[in-house]
Point group: C2
Chain length 335, copies 2
């Protein structure tokens, strides 16, 4: 059942059917109703390929994240999908993992699908900060379609970034721990991503402002994994002393809680622990964790709004948006 069939059955030309389908005003009410009736009767759906061929657009946005099973990414994709859907856009999803080559492959693949725009979710796409070349593929992509980054910053034409103010967040959590008398705060991180670097800077700044030394051994590199973190802490516990833990992911913070449990260290009395992203883990834990809400919903909403302005109204939009985080205080840092 195609446009020709509908035209024949309605006794009009395909042009008229096309007009009806696209809601053109230049059709008489009568013919319009007639065509609509025939369409409904025959359960007609326009062929998106044919349409796409002509318009070179399919109202589709490509979303790439490293791993949708991660609750942060999942939340982001949930927001993006639902709000894009309300604007009539579909989402093609790609989970690229963290490898440089895979990321590039995914970007190229989605680009070849003639997506209207590309969204990259997660700090990992912003490179490790050492090498500008790491992000060349994004600039390359941006020549073909606008690129939107969620929580990553990459410079270049046609690239738009929305980031949480991770610097400020870790600055404040650290300061708050210091205010409560913590002197050796462990900073737990797992990558050199853009946001990872911001978080570390915030931590360092707060220490510096308080006149505390920045100790290399308190920068604790681990994985975003409960068990791994717990075991690593246990392993280092003979030599490493700390009375506060600033985790850059909730799972690491939970690892610290589990560690404390094994060592019979009371949280938060003897050890303050704060998490990040305010995930379900933070409230599943006992005690419940203070955690940074990185305002992902705001980031995503802003991104989609900007995207629509750009795509449909050709408006100028901000290149870099920064959204403040909210520190959700539970018992583990304040007591």
């Amino acid at each position: 059942m195609n446009i020709y069939d509908i035209a024949k059955l309605s006794g009009v030309s395909i042009a008229t059917v096309s007009r009806v389908v696209n809601g053109s005003p230049r059709v008489s009410e009568k013919t319009k109703q007639k065509v609509l009736a025939v369409m409904k009767e025959n359960d007609y759906t326009p062929n998106v390929f044919a349409r796409g061929l002509g318009l070179d657009s399919m109202k589709t946005v490509g979303i790439i994240c490293p791993n949708i099973a991660d609750s942060y990414m999942a939340k982001a994709v949930a927001y993006l999908e639902s709000s894009l859907h309300s604007y009539g856009y579909d989402c093609i999803l790609g989970c690229s993992g963290f490898g440089q080559e895979e990321k590039q492959n995914y970007v190229n693949m989605l680009l070849s699908k003639r997506i209207d725009t590309l969204v990259l979710v997660g700090s990992t796409y912003a490179g490790n900060g050492k090498d500008e070349y790491d992000t060349d593929y994004i600039r390359e992509a941006a020549k073909k379609t606008p690129v939107f980054m969620i929580n990553g910053r990459v410079r270049g034409d046609n690239i738009y970034c929305a980031c949480a103010d991770d610097y400020q967040a870790t600055y404040e959590v650290t300061k708050s721990m210091i205010r409560r008398g913590r002197e050796r705060i462990l900073f737990m991180y797992d990558s050199d991503s853009f946001s990872g670097r911001q978080k570390m800077k915030g931590y360092e700044a707060a220490l510096a402002d308080a006149g505390y030394p920045i100790r290399g051994e308190l920068k604790f590199r681990t994985k975003n994994d409960i068990e791994y973190t717990k075991n690593l802490l246990l392993e280092y516990s003979r030599t490493l002393e700390f009375d506060g833990v600033l985790a850059t992911e909730d799972a690491m913070a939970i690892g610290a809680v589990k560690y404390a449990k094994v060592k019979a260290i009371s949280v938060p009395e003897e050890l303050s622990i704060s998490g990040y992203n305010d995930s379900i883990m933070a409230i599943s834990s006992e005690p419940e964790l203070t955690s940074v809400d990185s305002k992902l919903n705001v980031l995503c909403k802003t991104t989609v709004d900007h995207m629509i302005s750009l795509l449909e109204k050709q408006e100028e939009i901000e290149k870099n948006v920064v959204v403040p985080c909210e520190i959700v205080k539970r018992c583990t840092t304040d007591f």
Copy 2:
């Protein structure tokens, strides 16, 4: 840059270029290399729309789930995407929510995108069991494209289902609690979905087999939410007595843990609690929860394998696959 440009630059016809692109063997090695070189040089990508128009397929599968922010769905989508990607398929993702009308809309929308097949993730798409009409839209969709259900059962041509054996899982957890001397086991659930019904039947069967009565007041309807469940339990705690909790979602089980904490009931000594889906919550909690691993990865893997058999080899495939669950025992039921 289209096929004509490449043809011209290579000094061949578009047919030859097309053959090269599609890996046809009827091209001389020499021309093939020539064309390949020109393609690479000009960074040529075939237009998917034009190709789709002719072939009426875009190697794309539609995935619908109620909410990708839910960790169970997210995990499923992660598995599906990665394994479909390895077969060269892309994923269009839709998050439909739980409303009947939204579900139908999403299905129709994806169908109109000429997806090669549709995957429905989650028990909610199997209806509430009362009304066959609820699932008519799925049978309707199946007339146009094969439909695969993850953890839901719907009868009909061209519909293929893969389910976890939830009945057996709750049967065994219940039995295990009974064996440990629990006499009043609270069954917590939140919906009349297909899997919800299976779970309840397993619970009832285990009670019956042990010669215990099935008490209506121990079938506790709540929401898949920690705080809500905790508060509901507190509210009913004056009248409701129980020494075991069989939750059909991890969040409910965590709610029970939080409730026990408020009431100073020791877990698992005084109260056994088991969760479901073996999510990150189960191990974030203190104590860590026994939980049912519903083998989502196996479900998804099987589904994709079958899908490929059907789509690419036209093979007959099983209509209903049932995968046994694994009960991951932690301290909360065994002690």
